[in-house]
């Protein structure tokens, strides 16, 4: 097994790990804004790592360059979409989760 193949398997496994943690965060967090943190940041990193792993598996060709273009576009566009949703949430009056007064 050459070095490129080992690196690509490592990157894809890292992407799968971050996908798992982002999904667990989406299910278990108590509030809308914390869930948005989990899915916005975790999903973007996971997609970028997976795409770099797949591009390394290809070698030096035109297809690998196109995959790198998709990765750059995802890095630019996904945080912008998260920002737009969160701004819409604040303006419509979704309340953040605070600790109650009685508990210390």
């Amino acid at each position: 097994m050459s070095v490129m193949m080992a690196l690509s398997i490592l990157c894809i496994l890292g992407g799968l790990f971050f996908f798992t943690t982002a999904t667990i965060g989406l299910l278990r967090f108590p509030d809308f804004f914390s869930r948005l943190h989990a899915t916005g940041k975790g999903d973007t990193l996971a997609v970028s790592l997976s795409l770099i792993g797949l591009a390394l598996y290809e070698g030096f060709s035109l297809a690998a360059l196109k995959i790198v273009f998709i990765a750059v576009f995802m890095l630019l566009a996904q945080p912008t979409a998260t920002h737009a949703i969160s701004k819409a949430g604040i303006r419509s009056g979704v309340k953040p989760w605070m600790k109650e007064e009685g508990k210390e």
Partner: protein, 153 residues
């Protein structure tokens, strides 16, 4: 209803990304014979880029870039290209949309004339689909009432 976006992040990112989206749509139109794509798919992506332009700026700012009259002219232009190529083939002595007769006009052999004819037709379809996609979005969202009509009341 006039759309306005007060976000500076969304405005800046869409200003960077819209030319690249349109370039990718032209690539999809041109490579219809080899990879999935063609006239209709490229036209949908072009229409989506115009929708993004109108979403992130208001109606007043985006009107200076591309007005609604220009988009309607594009729809007719696309249809004119499609039927025009078909009619030229008919006038040169073949069937409707028989591209091999175009080799007399362009001085190439008939196989190459067929490929160029298909490229021309895909371009026409792309323009028409882009205009229709944008018109559907615009008419549904404003309900047919332009802001100039609202001010006159």
């Amino acid at each position: 209803m006039i759309y306005r976006s007060d976000d500076i992040i969304v405005k800046t990112i869409s200003r960077i990304l819209i030319p690249f989206i349109q370039l990718y749509a032209l690539y999809v139109i041109a490579h219809g014979h080899y990879s999935p794509g063609g006239g209709f798919q490229g036209g949908v992506i072009l229409g989506a880029s115009l929708v993004l332009l109108f979403l992130t700026r208001g109606y007043d700012e985006a009107k200076t870039r591309i007005s609604e009259k220009t988009v309607i002219i594009f729809a007719s232009l696309g249809l004119l290209i499609y039927s025009g190529i078909g009619l030229i083939c008919l006038l040169l002595g073949g069937n409707y949309l028989d591209y091999s007769k175009l080799s007399v006009l362009l001085h190439v052999n008939p196989a190459r004339a067929r490929a160029l004819g298909i490229l021309g037709i895909e371009t026409g379809v792309g323009f028409a689909v882009m205009a229709v996609m944008f018109s559907i979005f615009f008419d549904i969202s404003t309900g047919g009432v332009l802001p100039e009509d609202e001010e006159e009341k």
